[in-house]
């Protein structure tokens, strides 16, 4: 199989990246300083992430498109303001999750950011659902970089004037040396930051300028520890077709207005689960010692009954200890419930805890 490279590949190489294959792309897992330092640098300064492997799906249309998309996504898109973004999911009729995504209303329609491993399948599903009524472009000519951390607003604003005035979960077109870039104030690390969609030909130049301002390239390894500390889900691990948004404890992302009408794919199951509760639910889990409970670790209750499974687990550098998320039988999902995690044949104590592990510092309003 042909492994794809992003437009920043050469810069990654120059920066001594260690590469891994991820969703068919050669991606940097870490650079010379290592995951822990990269993680802390993002929390304290400003990290740049190449996420160009993710899908950038542009769907063009007006009122008709809004109606059609509302049959698919549990969002109030009609009342979504221009350039505002929402977190959502593409579900099947049983409310199983095909993908989680960010959808933004643009002046020409919608921009949907999709997971790399899912984007081709998502495209196929959406094309069928929309019956080819609307022009859809999964744009391979644009790169996507995220810049995250407390110094990111200043560093990016030095290069792309005006971005610091963006509100959280909103975007706009800006200019980078006469090139049009679409920037949203968003991210997936629990830090204030931005995602920048830019033509492949200019992404190298923009990234180098951000590095000159003091930001550093950060690999996928630290991206994973950052998002887990922030309590955010990773598709294929914490989310998949066997889990619904209600089970994933993501009901905040489902529009209340839309639930009352219930005319979107998967709405029957969603409404049933919201009314009757669910048998398993996603929770945060904090091991008591230093032991790391990774994906697929079994969870037991105090009577040694198997009650769930870890879906993501690692060492959290800012928490300075192990952190995990998993699905557990609902009756054991209460905060501070004591559970046991089976690691290498031994049971280790842990506690159910609230998420995130690390407190967010998103900017709500603009800094004027």
């Amino acid at each position: 199989m042909n492994i794809k490279k992003t437009s920043l590949y050469q810069l990654h190489q120059e920066s001594n990246a260690k590469f891994v294959e991820f969703a068919g792309y050669q991606m940097p897992i870490q650079y010379s300083e290592g995951i822990v330092e990269e993680h802390k640098f993002t929390r304290n300064h400003s990290g740049i992430f190449d996420v160009s492997h993710m899908g950038q799906l542009f769907i063009y249309g007006g009122e008709d498109l809004i109606k059609d998309l509302e049959k698919i996504f549990p969002l109030d898109l009609k009342n979504l303001k221009l350039n505002h973004s929402k977190y959502s999911f593409l579900m099947d009729k049983d409310a199983g999750i095909h993908d989680d995504l960010i959808i933004t209303k643009t002046n020409e329609g919608f921009l949907i950011i999709l997971n790399a491993a899912c984007k081709d399948n998502d495209f196929k599903i959406l094309k069928e659902l929309l019956e080819e009524k609307h022009k859809m472009v999964l744009d391979e000519n644009r790169s996507l970089i995220a810049i995250q951390g407390p110094k990111s607003s200043q560093n990016l604003n030095d290069v792309v004037v005006g971005v610091k005035d963006l509100n959280f979960m909103s975007g706009n077109w800006f200019s980078f040396q006469d090139h049009k870039v679409y920037i949203t104030r968003s991210g997936y690390t629990g830090e204030d930051g931005f995602e920048i969609s830019i033509a492949n030909d200019f992404v190298d130049k923009l990234t180098r300028e951000l590095i000159n301002k003091g930001s550093k390239l950060i690999g996928l390894g630290a991206r994973d520890t950052l998002r887990l500390e922030a309590g955010l889900c990773l598709y294929g691990h914490d989310l998949d077709k066997d889990k619904t948004p209600v089970e994933a404890n993501l009901k905040w992302a489902i529009s209340k207005e839309r639930i009352s009408k219930g005319d979107f794919i998967g709405s029957d199951i969603i409404i049933k689960q919201l009314n009757n509760g669910v048998s398993k639910i996603r929770v945060g889990i904090k091991p008591e010692g230093r032991i790391i409970a990774r994906e697929k670790t079994k969870i037991f209750n105090q009577s040694d009954v198997h009650i769930g499974e870890i879906t993501s687990g690692t060492f959290g550098p800012s928490v300075n200890g192990p952190v995990a998320m998993g699905y557990i039988e609902n009756e054991f999902s209460k905060k501070d419930t004591k559970v046991f995690l089976e690691v290498r044949g031994k049971k280790h104590p842990a506690n159910i805890c609230g998420l995130p592990f690390y407190k967010k510092s998103y900017v709500k309003g603009a800094t004027k």
Partner: protein, 126 residues
């Protein structure tokens, strides 16, 4: 005189009298990345050559630590349990893992010397 030997599983072993000190090599720590957890065998337990005798975990994954020789565990290094990042900082000296009372000194002959190990490490990581 003490002699340091190396295993294909990237452990080093230093024999002084009949007590062997065992740790993982600098090359191993570079492959693993930031080490954030270490588990060691219990003092007083017996370990068999090439058997599992501990675990190290990086942010990415867990890896077994093997013992290159058989013997009884007489000491373990609490410092690396309390602060696993010491393994990255000084893997071939102060961040040793455990000490064994060695059972069969001839097992040392099956291991590599420094030159052979360096060559082996270079070839296998290429």
């Amino acid at each position: 005189m003490s002699e340091v030997k190396y295993s294909k599983e990237h452990e080093w072993i230093k024999l002084e009298g009949d007590v062997a000190t065992i740790g993982i090599t600098k090359h191993a720590t570079e492959m693993l990345g930031d080490i954030v957890f270490a588990e060691l065998p219990e003092k007083g337990s017996n370990v068999e050559k090439d058997g599992t005798a501990g675990v190290v975990e990086s942010t990415k994954a867990a890896s077994d630590v093997y013992t290159p020789v058989s013997g009884e565990v007489v000491e373990t290094n609490q410092e690396i349990i309390d602060d696993p990042s010491k393994i990255n900082q000084d893997p071939e000296d102060s961040a040793w893992f455990f000490k064994l009372k060695i059972k069969d000194q001839s097992e040392m002959d099956t291991l590599m010397n420094k030159d052979d190990y360096d060559k082996f490490a270079k070839e296998t990581s290429a």
